[in-house]
Assembly symmetry: C2
Homo-oligomer: 206 residues x 2
Amino acid sequence: MRISALAAAAGLPVATVKFYLREGLLHAGLASSATQASYDASHVRRLRLIRALTGTVGLSVQQARTILELIDDPGDDLYSTLGRAVSALPPAAADAGGEPGADPYPRARAALEALGQVYDPRFAAVAQLESSLEAAESAGLPLSDDRLLAYGNAIREIAAYDLERMPRSPREAVEYTVLGTALYEPVLLALRRLAHQDIASRRTRD
Amino acid sequence: MRISALAAAAGLPVATVKFYLREGLLHAGLASSATQASYDASHVRRLRLIRALTGTVGLSVQQARTILELIDDPGDDLYSTLGRAVSALPPAAADAGGEPGADPYPRARAALEALGQVYDPRFAAVAQLESSLEAAESAGLPLSDDRLLAYGNAIREIAAYDLERMPRSPREAVEYTVLGTALYEPVLLALRRLAHQDIASRRTRD
DNA sequence: AATATTGGAGAGTACAACTATCCAATCACA
DNA sequence: TGTGATTGGATAGTTGTACTCTCCAATATT
């Protein structure tokens, strides 16, 4: 399969495929001569993944590259690999401001304590939680403790389900977790919006 | 309060405040002369909201403007107002392809039927669900029915909580729903990631 | 009176994500 | 075996977004 066939299979312009090759998101084909390389199904799959990440998930090319690199060769340490993946995903976390020595993530800490969950400021999602809570607060819609508990408990069911299905082998676990985080998040958001609609329409009808 | 004080209060450069004024995200101050206008607390609040939407939530200036306009004057019809707001929020939905007459959102339809929820193709979130499911599928991680049910039921608890707290007056309801959708979504995502971490660490310790 | 600041408009900048153009080396077919 | 099409690779150009800078005449401030 040459580059034009690959581009056609993925539904993309050849120029865009070349761009992804140059940017290192797509692995090179097998060169058979100076002006010929052959691509296979793995390239088609990869292009689909790239478009899913940069399109629906909304990642930048740079973020997508980070995610793809982590999947391609996850480090020895599953934990730190996942940590790096989470850092590459939105919502972006503002770096912890405030005077040095102070608690960098006071809102996130309080939230996690209220939920009875571990608080480890090194984990990227803690900074993301802090930024999100701060944004909601400064926009005039602070998250009440009550709401936090409601959200936290429901979300925990989802997370528990995710973990139950996690593959045993480390390599597969990374791919499952990283892609599952990135790809299923938009689904969750859409489901919440649709549930609002469904519940509202039921109430109206009653 | 003049423009430089406003900018300082919001922690932004004056040029950026001027930019938001020009772009219509921020309402003009009360002009007292040809080169003087006074701004008040409402402007500071608005700037905070703008930064929350364009920063943490990740909206473009264009999308933020749409959301802000809907909050400023919601139409008579609560439903269509919310629909327009949802359309302005990510994840972006690809427009329904396929041959005309065919079901435009087959995955979303199947999902909603499995969940026992209403399926109305006019609602923007249906297109978003379809796009998200399609992205996950083409990236090689299709959402199983089982997972869909697990997610859908947990998310429903959250949506039910949201609706219970919805203000009675239409104007407030729009603001609550639109901002609650946009601002609390990042919180939900961060909470899921943290719950993964928490549950994983509990299992390891056991 | 001297200096600084303001609102407003226009131009300029920086970056991201493509997209287009070239070119010499093959290829594919007549 | 010629001849037009295609390829990989490099370089340059385009488009869009979100600011940021520069001016300027009209005020404010001191």
